[in-house]
Symmetry: D2
Amino acid sequence: MTYDRLDPESAVAEAATSFSNWGRWGADDRLGTLNFLTEAKRLQGAALVRRGVSFSLAQSFDMNGPQRGWRRRTNPVHTMLDTGSDAALGTQGMPHGIGGADDVVAMPLQCSTQWDGLGHIFDHGKAWNGRDAATTVTSDGDLVTGIEHMAAHVAGRGVLLDVGRAISPSGELSDGFAITAEHLDETARAQGVQVERGDIVLVRTGQLARVRRDGWGEYAGGPAPGLSFTTAGWLHASEIAAIATDTWGFEVRPNEFEAAFQPLHQVVIPNMGLLVGEMWDLEALGEDCAEDGVYEFFLAAPPLPITGAVGSPINPLAVK
Amino acid sequence: MTYDRLDPESAVAEAATSFSNWGRWGADDRLGTLNFLTEAKRLQGAALVRRGVSFSLAQSFDMNGPQRGWRRRTNPVHTMLDTGSDAALGTQGMPHGIGGADDVVAMPLQCSTQWDGLGHIFDHGKAWNGRDAATTVTSDGDLVTGIEHMAAHVAGRGVLLDVGRAISPSGELSDGFAITAEHLDETARAQGVQVERGDIVLVRTGQLARVRRDGWGEYAGGPAPGLSFTTAGWLHASEIAAIATDTWGFEVRPNEFEAAFQPLHQVVIPNMGLLVGEMWDLEALGEDCAEDGVYEFFLAAPPLPITGAVGSPINPLAVK
Amino acid sequence: MTYDRLDPESAVAEAATSFSNWGRWGADDRLGTLNFLTEAKRLQGAALVRRGVSFSLAQSFDMNGPQRGWRRRTNPVHTMLDTGSDAALGTQGMPHGIGGADDVVAMPLQCSTQWDGLGHIFDHGKAWNGRDAATTVTSDGDLVTGIEHMAAHVAGRGVLLDVGRAISPSGELSDGFAITAEHLDETARAQGVQVERGDIVLVRTGQLARVRRDGWGEYAGGPAPGLSFTTAGWLHASEIAAIATDTWGFEVRPNEFEAAFQPLHQVVIPNMGLLVGEMWDLEALGEDCAEDGVYEFFLAAPPLPITGAVGSPINPLAVK
Amino acid sequence: MTYDRLDPESAVAEAATSFSNWGRWGADDRLGTLNFLTEAKRLQGAALVRRGVSFSLAQSFDMNGPQRGWRRRTNPVHTMLDTGSDAALGTQGMPHGIGGADDVVAMPLQCSTQWDGLGHIFDHGKAWNGRDAATTVTSDGDLVTGIEHMAAHVAGRGVLLDVGRAISPSGELSDGFAITAEHLDETARAQGVQVERGDIVLVRTGQLARVRRDGWGEYAGGPAPGLSFTTAGWLHASEIAAIATDTWGFEVRPNEFEAAFQPLHQVVIPNMGLLVGEMWDLEALGEDCAEDGVYEFFLAAPPLPITGAVGSPINPLAVK
């Protein structure tokens, strides 16, 4: 599987054709590969809870985040409608000594730990399942595959592939490192876990550990380790329900073509219907898995059902 | 336990003293009753997954919500940064036929299904654990008990008390109906479930079913069924980790005093440290429990870790 | 000039053809009828300042506004980033006793007193000057006629036509009252003012006075007095630079066709290139003009140059 | 007038005492030095319009602005509720071929060209006119001196002091350059203009020209030319109504004390009641004044009456 570095469009077209799931779950499908996440799978996931310990896989949501304004993406702006300071001053006009604080947030749905909805990426004007992008995702949002349709689904067996730990002595892959199918398989073998149909696969590169130490730099859109374009076949054949990484953009950056922008997204979201997570914090979970050698767990990562959204901020929980 | 309807302040003071948990988990505590939700409890919760079926307990997040502007609370405003319409027109300046859609949201953190953080309510200038409200929750948010501290915790055994179904032939309690400890116990008996220490208890009143049928009306702040002020002792003695209802405000409205505002909140949040959820959608879960007679399940309801937030929008998942 | 009440589309088409200004100021025009507002006109306007008294023609911008959620339009949400309460508590970490307050706003650009930009309304997919609406106003905003292009222009001679006072003994036109060209001319005569090329014409209906007294009701989109569809010719022939009213929607509502939505907008914005203002507060100015009998003044109503905006909140100043 | 560089607090205290206007316009005053801007002054200003040419003194409001997140200040986020792309696709559900675009903005009120409200800065817990900061500016905004009270006032005689052109051969003062009273007087003399009571004085440093050429860098809060702390007396004695600069922070940065933050603000806003404008674009106006030698004009810079706001985005118009 080699591609012409100068011709991303043909590479995308070939992969899109080979790995398309259009029509696989009927013309009305709104779930894509989440269809692989069956009740049996969820049952299997729950059975993996052995200690009852829980890990939040979310980065924080605040102004200290990585966003730098690209595509009008800011960090979350959280402001107060009422505060304890007001309450203590007695200016809230409330009876019997009650006081309250209340707050609002304004944020891009993909500013921090998130799921990409199926309406997030298009291929030549086509959205997931072959739909017309133009009428599927308008200013009113995603009218067909809005993330609210996934609200009840995203809980099941989670598997961590800590590629950073498996491949690199430092535990961190360098920026620009392309993770191949072989790396994924080798990591699974080394860490004693099997990726199965319906799993939610988490890939740790270690980049988040690095930027926490060194500063955000270009975390949001700059060079990063990530999945090689060549993993499209692995992602398709494995029949996983979802995948998430600790990087901004899931796939390796710079992308593996001369002039390209997220070509693997273009294959896996509109064509394969794969649920993709980004900016997950896999540090504490990674350490725990390294310690106890168990790389599978129950994972609940329900998106906020914002009607018509093409992404959702999330706080994924891994329970071991 | 009777209170003077004309003297909410004394009633609150008495209940606050009787049912305080200040200091129970040390001076630095940021979790309140979530401390009851242990790893053993989470293990017990996971073991309740028998069919692998999952229920989203979230209402939708959109402009069709119940908010009417009180306290500057609007419904969520979701807007697009990029759309499929743009992508199809080829105006996005992206290579190889890729197109994208992106979005933002501006919303009060308590506009729809949510957790109240521990910094949401104060009692005479005191926040949870006896802290000074004035310096704990400022314009910079809750500097001590921000909801981000709960990020990893809220997963365990959920118990549904479908009081609507247990008490009322219609399955819906009328507005103003005060649910007492006796109603809670009777419901648990009738539905064959035991409320235990560390549980997350969901109380269905049926009001949401009614407003879905009849229109929002005054759902946000008007008359509603809910917990009686007299349940404070039950909430304390039961040592539950959290409680949530399908109503705007958890406690009965109008409140049970002549001139009062959410007096039970004033007891249970700052004094008891209880995690309170509101505006949950318990309809589908309620039907399922009525069908199979099983009112316990695994519940994952992780708040978004918005730094310093005094509440969080959530999509709670119940897995049976 | 009579129109078939059942056929708004033909009526719009006929008026659009008759009163089009496409090409009048060249293919690159971004200003429409603001081209009539010349430096000479501005000079004439300034000369009208005789007393130095200034009137703000803006309604307030806050949660007590008329918006009810239509088209995701909320009232403005203003929140604080820092407060005096914080400053007084000494929690701001600032030296030498300085303290500060800071704030943010989230608001639709047409939630209160505003200008409609030229990209606000389209006629069969065409924007002002015959441009393709699809590529002119995308998710990135109005790429050609964004309101920023008007930033330096909107100051000149203002003329008040207080139709409410001229036509109705109560000073208020009833909802559904259609103001015709004859009403406009009659009002001008009665109030001793002439409408000239390049003027900014303000039409007071009195509806704002009524809703201030009686409550907003359906001010935002419901029945209202306003300009008749038949005034299109008057608006074109008069060569005014702009027009503004004290109502939500400038033209009479319900509209004068069986099933229609703002047909006069469809003629005057994309076809005529007319600058239209709405929700202006003409009460104090109206009283003053009635008192001194002078209905002309200097008017400065500069839009905020929000790049690509199709409307702008404004605080228009009339100086007499 | 020399100050101890190590003791800003004493310097502020001394200047605050010497240059206080507390009580000058009564205990209920909400306008501060805007009281100097009388109707006579406005009349004088209007008479300065000789050519009818108008200059917008606003920077643009978009994501290409200087904000970098300090104090949760972002650049303005402008998003569309409806677009021409949607309209052209016919997905808006509107009759007779009408289509529409609509938009929203979320922005700090001081993200771009703006006025500081009187509630923006405090001195040891005191707001303008000696009020208690804690109860004057709460989470509900500035309850007393909100910027809406200035809505009708800010139009009058504007005077440009182009200090950059007068002092520096390049026309640009270097970062850290402190403009003294002598510089101001010298500039006025050189440019043939007199500063009078009630004027709105614009001070051009040329920094904006530099950052436009070289990139924003630290424009928002970093080193900049600006008024020396020692100009407090000049600002007081001149009895001007307002002052504005082309820099982020009006006064010189770094500030002229070892460890200080905007000490001149602390004197002039809460103590003197001076209206201060920042981030104005004085480039085109500066060029025009240099050309025709006329440094006075009519200036209208009405704030948006956002209820309780401590600042306002503005588009100031200078008409010559």
